[in-house]
């Protein structure tokens, strides 16, 4: 006798059975039963399958059988089928084509309950084609006599519109009429749909604002109030005049509604919309302790969220609530700690930066924070690099912090970390000497710095190579012995490390003055070129080796000049050399070919291209015409758009500027003088024009 669904559940609950074995038996039974033609057995099988789905068994293979069960006339069978369908029909599966007719029959049918449960399932599985087919039937249902049907259809519309947006324009007005329906459930459903639509396109739903305003003033349902508040935030974005009208009901809700959830919602709305209004902000500040001081941890959480919004409006609030934030960071609750972290990100000033980073790094090492380690480190890096290092006052300290973070070995942050390190060393000249020494210290334990891409390691090697001119002889020797250690090859780092290593050796050689260093460098490069597995690294080592052994050392002094950062617009000040100013022809073959009978066939017909070739005007004309005809016949040629080709505005400006500079080179000096002096103690090279004064 086949088991019923209840039997399956009871079987699973028995203590001593082997669950997997039991489930497998049931599963194979289902596979047999579901093929039967008797609907009762079939339904039973589908019901059992539904329970198995909760255990992780896939239902999709039974889609066709589920459809058969759905189409039954008996209500219980239909319900089981529909439920199974809503769980397992995939959005783009073929079964949906077959189901469309079924749903259409249900929607126009007389039986309310059947229609209801069909709508339930439909909302889970409807796709674009089905929406198109069923839209009209749904619109008819909007005027059904039973409120339950109207209610459900109003919600269904959102899904239909998502799948078939063209239907939106036709039907939306009919939907909006439901805002004035007598049944509150229908109104709630319509408000929900309109809210979701307003998030996509607020101006489209704007005409309903009047009706929505009336509902806001009359309804007592808190969920509706919350949805309406959110809705109005969206509408105000496109119609700022609404702001004045809604300030009255918002204030009323803020002061009178007892529910905390509504209070929270309206406070958030006021922070977004009315951030200039002092009265409103005052009321909010009165309400805030009600959240932050509460014993209920949920209210504490919400208080922190409100605080976040308030501080974004006015940073002065940060001072008063500093204690809350630090306490929250120590809280036992992970969610509250994450919130506190967000707050720390926006309240740290340059004075409090050192203290804050110190606290954050202590938090990283605590085992309770293992889950949020990455967020903590991201926050540190965010604060350090915020607004081009605006908050940092002591760059040497900052570099030490960065090296500390390198030791935490979080792979996600390595790329950001190495780019910040390089950026800061490049821009801040005074830092370079300290950075080199600190990098050297860290690199002495280079085995521990191994990670997948070794970006941090590469960055450190680059720093000691590039700025090795700041080393004294002793440190230079240290650096050299470090890069020539045989352990590098054995540890099998990423390719970029070996490339950086070769460059580093090369640069150190240029700096060095003693012969023994020269020999050591040469030897190291020779080894690298053989022992390292990566082809690119070997090639680089050989290249550097050849340069070192064959070139004159004085000529290589250009390497001593350090990299400098330049402003992106500096490129505009460089004008191309004369040779590039004119369009020159790289290869005569591109311009024309000489055919077998001696005539010349041209590929281009721009005036400039004919410059060097002696031709009469008549010949040029003929050549141009030939080319044009050939292009028109070529199926792969994309014909240019008709109408004049506009010369780009930018290129015109650039040309004028170039002309100006050519005539009067002093312009650059004037422009440099106009710039205000850099206020920081360290000279941060943000925009050094390339043309020196």
């Amino acid at each position: 006798m086949s088991k019923s669904a209840t039997d399956v559940i009871k079987g699973l609950r028995k203590g001593k059975i082997d669950r997997t074995a039991f489930l497998t038996t049931v599963y194979s039974e289902i596979r047999e039963e579901v093929k039967s033609s008797d609907l009762v057995i079939k339904t039973n099988a589908i019901r059992k399958l539904f329970i198995l789905a909760l255990e992780g068994y896939d239902m999709e293979w039974a889609s066709f059988h589920i459809l058969e069960v759905m189409s039954s006339d008996k209500f219980s069978q239909k319900h089981s089928g529909l439920l199974a369908a809503s769980q397992c029909f995939k959005p783009n599966s073929d079964i949906l084509f077959l189901a469309t007719n079924f749903f259409r029959r249900e929607l126009v049918g007389n039986n309310t309950i059947d229609t209801c449960i069909s709508i339930n399932t439909l909302s889970c599985i409807v796709n674009a084609d089905m929406s198109k087919e069923l839209l009209n039937d749904c619109v008819t249902l909007l005027n059904a006599s039973k409120p339950i049907l109207r209610k459900k259809v109003c919600i269904l519309f959102y899904k239909l519109f998502l799948q078939y947006p063209d239907g939106l324009i036709a039907c939306f007005e009919r939907l909006a009429e439901k805002l004035r329906d007598e049944s509150p459930g229908v109104v709630m459903g319509t408000v929900n749909t309109i809210y979701e639509l307003s998030r996509i396109n607020p101006s489209f739903v704007l005409f309903t604002a009047q009706a929505l305003y009336e509902i806001l003033n009359t309804t007592t349902n808190n969920f509706v109030i919350i949805k309406l508040i959110k809705l109005f935030i969206e509408l105000v974005k496109v119609e700022p005049r609404l702001l004045k009208k809604i300030s009255i009901p918002f204030t009323r809700i803020l002061t009178s509604n007892p529910a905390k959830s509504v209070e929270f919602e309206v406070i958030m709305a006021i922070c977004v919309l009315f951030h200039d209004s002092d009265d409103m902000l005052r009321i909010i500040l009165q309400k805030l302790p009600g959240f932050l001081d509460s014993h209920d941890p949920n209210l504490k959480y919400l208080g922190l969220v409100i605080l976040h919004k308030l501080i974004q409006i006015n940073i002065e609030y940060a001072e008063e609530y500093k204690i809350f934030i630090m306490e929250a960071l120590q809280s036992k609750d992970v969610t509250i700690r994450l919130r506190a972290l967000e707050l720390i990100k926006i309240t740290t000033t340059s004075k409090s930066l050192v203290e804050t980073i110190k606290n954050l790094l202590i938090e990283v090492e605590k085992p309770t924070n293992a889950g949020i380690k990455e967020e903590l480190i991201s926050s540190c890096l965010y604060l350090l690099s915020f607004n081009q290092y605006e908050l940092v006052e002591d760059f040497k300290w900052m570099f030490e912090v960065l090296l500390q973070i390198v030791n935490f070995k979080t792979e996600i942050h390595e790329a950001q970390l190495s780019s910040i390190m390089l950026d800061v060393v490049l821009r801040v000249e005074e830092l370079r000497e300290d950075a080199c020494e600190l990098s050297l210290n860290t690199l002495e334990i280079f085995d521990t710095l191994k990670s997948e891409k070794c970006e941090a390691l590469t960055a450190l090697i680059f720093i000691i190579g590039e700025f090795s001119s700041y080393f004294n002889e002793e440190n230079l020797g240290r650096a050299l012995s470090l890069v020539t250690k045989p352990r590098w090859e054995l540890l099998n780092f990423h390719e970029s490390v070996y490339n950086a290593l070769s460059s580093c050796v090369f640069k150190i050689f240029i700096r060095a003055k003693e012969d023994r260093i020269f020999d050591a460098c040469v030897k190291k490069l020779q080894e690298n070129s053989v022992q390292i597995e990566h082809m690119e690294s070997q090639e680089r080592s050989l290249l550097y080796l050849n340069i070192l052994t064959t070139a004159d050392k004085e000529k290589l002094n250009f390497v001593l000049k350090p990299f400098l950062p330049i402003h992106p617009s500096a490129q505009n000040f460089i004008f191309p050399p004369d040779a590039l100013q004119q369009n020159f022809i790289v290869n005569d073959d591109e311009l024309f070919t000489t055919k077998s009978d001696g005539t010349i066939e041209y590929y281009y017909y721009r005036e400039e291209d004919f410059g060097d070739i002696p031709m009469t005007d008549q010949e040029k004309k003929v050549a141009k015409q030939n080319i044009k005809d050939k292009q028109m016949q070529d199926p792969y040629y994309i014909k240019p758009k008709k109408g004049k080709k506009k010369k780009g505005k930018k290129s015109k400006k650039l040309e004028e500027k170039v002309e100006e500079i050519k005539e009067n080179p002093d312009i650059i000096k004037d422009e440099e003088a106009k710039k205000p002096p850099s206020p920081k103690k360290y000279s941060v090279n943000r925009a050094e024009p390339l043309i020196p004064t």
Partner: protein, 143 residues
């Protein structure tokens, strides 16, 4: 818009799962397992809100069952969803008369029906217990 509503017990067995965005069976199983583990590691003194990947999760424990709601939106009023969970449990309680986990297990289809009367498409559209229950009694008659 709600992404999913789950009822999972302390052993990690899912009693009811309603997803409003399509997810494959394996994704669902992973999600449910991870969420219940996170909920189990939290105490009564901590807030009922979590963050899990891109989801904001609101949960509440009733006896042996965790009721979990997940959303993907940005501005979520967490407290209102907590109130909704309570509303849902009260409705189930009224219908099943002192509902317990077993009631939901053995009457999964009815539990789904109650839920479908309150939430559709990820939006809460009915919170009035009387209206919801009258629908369900009509359903029982039709059976």
């Amino acid at each position: 818009m709600i992404s999913f509503i789950l009822m999972v017990n302390k052993q990690g067995q899912t009693r009811l799962a309603q997803y409003y965005n399509y997810m494959t069976i394996s994704e669902r199983a992973t999600l449910e397992g991870e969420l219940v583990r996170k909920c189990l590691s939290r105490t009564e003194n901590q807030c009922s809100f979590l963050e899990h990947h891109q989801y904001k999760v609101i949960y509440r424990r009733y006896a042996s069952l965790y009721f979990i709601i997940g959303l993907e939106d940005e501005d979520v009023n967490e407290l209102s969803y907590l109130e909704f969970i309570h509303n849902l449990v009260e409705t189930l309680d009224k219908y099943f008369e002192n509902v317990c986990e077993l009631d939901i297990m053995f009457n999964i289809e009815k539990a789904h029906f109650v839920l479908d009367e309150m939430v559709m498409n990820g939006s809460i559209f009915e919170t009035n217990k009387a209206t919801i229950l009258s629908q369900i009694y009509a359903l029982d008659k039709a059976n």
